[in-house]
Amino acid sequence: MKIKPYGDTLNDGKVEISFTLPFEYGEVGIEAAKNIAKQMGLMDPQVVHAESIYEGFSFYVIYGAVPFSVDPEMIHIQEIKTPTFSREEIEDLIEKEFNRDLVFIGASTGTDAHTVGIDAIMNMKGFSGHYGLERYKHIKAYNLGSQVLNEEFVKQAKLLKADVLLVSQTVTQKDVHLKNLIELVELLEAEKIRDKVLLIAGGARISHELAKELGYDAGFGPKKYAEDVASFAVLELIRRKKEN
């Protein structure tokens, strides 16, 4: 089965786009915007709104239809296969499988000053009604905050004997977050503890696939909560324990 964007009729292919051109508002600007939309492959693009937003800059809202479609069956993505348990189930699982507390440390590393992501997963209150790891029995959660340098993060991981390392990257410009994430893997390898810990990345621009590519054990993007992260981590730690 092939699919197209849906406006109000199957296969109409309707999409909305908006952008700014560094060009004066006017007939020429509108035509230029339409031309951009055509080059993007849109059929019958309509400039439904155009206005000047500054001298030499104009803003456009455009509707059009795409001529192409995709077959979802041809798409293969790496997904996290483990199920998501409730907090109570996770707590029971740890109690049953480990005779100790599991240590999670988390931080927004490098120059990233945003704590929203790591706080959502770790803080007692959690996010959107999903309690954070600090509230979990048998999990010792250390949230190191933001702008934690990779060196410091590794130092704390060793000091606290962490089982799981959570790295958050929120706002990124010029892909500085990728460099930073890779550097952490290299540091852990240099310290010979990469295989002793579970390494998990999270953030709005992070996918599981990307995280795996960078040498992480898992990646969690938007709409993932503490229980998603904890379920994966605990099940993976159990699997590894049984392997040894």
Binding site: V116, D119, G145
Partner: protein, 518 residues
């Protein structure tokens, strides 16, 4: 206009506790100086520039005294003594010092009276410049009076020249205040970068040269638009007072300048932060620069509904620290935010309660109201709606500094069109609902009044606890945003120095004297 009928006894009690809380810290502040304070003294004397390794001369000098002298006496002593002994001007001294032809710490130290006399001409030049800037701002504002609610937007391209385009476009679209976000991580640098910069991450480096470029651009727009466009930067992090000096020199109008933000959110040592914030605020008071405090951050980290009272408690503490630094109420831009989960029933009423409460408790403060960010997740259409609700709350409760929310929050630093649409949204609400606030009274003992009374009472309780535990210990216990910071932990502690009995800071003495006279 009073609509909440807040319990005045509780407000008075909060202010009393805040006074007692800061007494303790202020006593500590008076006994100490920091490397950043001493570098600011250098800058106030007119010392600027960098050495062959790009290290700012104020850093070179302060490090020199740390190594070869005794910084607890204050850098004023060393500079004055060197000038007097060598018999040359400060400009000449800096030139030769940079060429390593003369030293800073090799001379017998002068007496306090001699130090003051030697440095007076240099200091007076800077003070005159700052005063001139202040008068100029006042003159423009008399000509183009400030609106009740001013629209504040952020630019953050990393390139100061690109920032100028973004800033001018925002001002033309209706923004009254432009903040240039700093490059990520600048707050943790223990020096201020030098010169014009065109690369940064998530923002543009705060340098004096960049300040100058943006000020000039905004002055041009101000003339065209017949509105004074204010310029904002960040006196936070490890260089609070130095940024304040540069901002005073370049006529910035507002500085983010919280007494505790660095401690809680940047893990900067608390001793360092308290000392630095005091000196930076003295300079702001002298320069007529509005400070903005960072209470909004408590709510992005913890729950905005249950932690609302910590915002109010912190506002009282920030107010009291500001008073100690001789800032007038008109310069106290206390912060708060619209961050309650919107799907909580009546969340909007609780936001109104908080905003109206802040307005009534701090009637003369240019309150800084921050937009929703925490519950914005990439759905730009929903975000636009949330920002509309925020704009309504702002207008209804008469907030002063209105930082607009961006529908692309948490996606990227704003596009030109994001900012344009946000300004359009705010202007529609400001126009369509202009006098709605005056028409509304809140129901006696209704949800809004009750909520405000509760938050006030809880603020009183927590301020009492802070007073009993001291502010230092309370911060160690994580009183704000659940973040725990130790007295001796964090960055920058090695830059804290206990003052010698003969310590002298000619800048602080002169500024305090003049501010106390007025």
């Amino acid at each position: 206009m009073k609509k909440l009928h807040l319990n005045q006894d509780n407000i008075d009690a909060c202010r009393l506790y805040a006074t007692q809380i800061t007494d303790d810290v202020q006593h500590f502040i008076y006994q100490h100086t920091t490397v950043a304070v001493e570098r600011s003294v250098c800058r106030m004397l007119g010392i600027d520039g960098i050495d062959e390794f790009d290290v700012p001369i104020p850093n070179v000098m302060v490090d020199d005294v740390l190594k070869n002298g005794d910084l607890s006496l204050g850098i004023s002593s060393y500079i004055a003594s060197a000038l007097e002994h060598l018999g040359i001007s400060l400009d000449e001294f800096v030139k030769q010092y940079n060429l390593k032809k003369v030293k800073l710490c090799d001379y017998p130290l002068l007496t306090p009276t001699q130090i003051k006399k030697t440095l007076q001409p240099y200091l007076e030049k800077s003070l005159a410049l700052i005063k001139k800037n202040k008068l100029e701002r006042e003159k423009i504002i008399r000509e183009f009076p400030v609106k009740k609610t001013e629209i504040y937007v952020i630019v953050a391209t990393g390139n100061i020249y690109e920032d100028v385009i973004q800033a001018k476009s925002a001002a033309k679209a209706g923004a009254d205040i432009i903040a240039v976000i700093r490059s990520t991580g600048q707050s943790l640098l223990d020096y201020v970068p030098y010169g014009i910069t065109t690369e940064g991450f998530g923002g543009t480096y705060a340098t004096q040269a960049n300040f100058k470029i943006m000020r000039q651009a905004l002055d041009e727009v101000s003339k065209e638009e017949h509105r004074y466009i204010k310029l904002v930067n960040y006196a936070s992090g490890l260089c609070m007072p130095e940024i304040a000096v540069m901002a005073a020199f370049e006529r910035l109008d507002i500085l983010l300048n919280d007494s505790m933000y660095g401690i809680i959110f940047r893990d900067i040592n608390m001793q360092r932060t308290f000392i630095d914030q005091y000196f930076s605020r003295l300079i702001n008071a002298y320069a007529g620069i509005i400070i903005n405090t960072g209470e909004d951050n408590y709510l992005t980290t913890s729950d905005a509904f249950s932690e609302a009272h910590t915002v109010l408690a912190s506002q009282f503490i920030n107010e009291e620290f500001a008073k100690r630094a001789l800032l007038k109420e008109e310069l106290m831009g206390l912060g708060h935010a619209f961050e309650i989960e919107p799907m909580i029933e009546n969340s909007f009423l609780y936001e109104i309660a908080q905003a109206q409460m802040a307005r009534e408790i701090f009637p003369n403060a240019p309150l800084k109201y921050m937009p929703p960010t925490k519950h914005i997740n990439g759905n730009i259409f929903k975000a636009y709606m949330q920002n509309t609700m925020f704009n309504i709350a702002t207008t209804l409760t008469g907030q002063s500094i209105h930082l607009l929310g961006m529908m692309t929050e948490a996606i990227h630093t704003p596009f030109m069109s994001d900012r344009f649409l946000a300004i359009e949204n705010a202007k529609i609400i400001q126009t369509a609902m202009k006098d709605l606030g005056d028409e509304i009274d809140y129901k006696p003992n209704g949800i809004i009044q009750t909520r405000a009374q509760e938050v006030l009472l809880n603020a009183k309780t927590i301020l009492k606890e802070i007073k009993e535990n001291t502010l230092f210990h309370s911060l160690e216990n994580g009183v704000f945003a659940n973040v725990k910071r130790s007295f001796t932990g964090g960055k920058g502690l090695d830059g804290v120095i206990k003052k010698h009995v003969n310590y002298i800071n000619v800048v602080q003495d002169a500024i305090k004297e003049e501010l106390n006279e007025n």
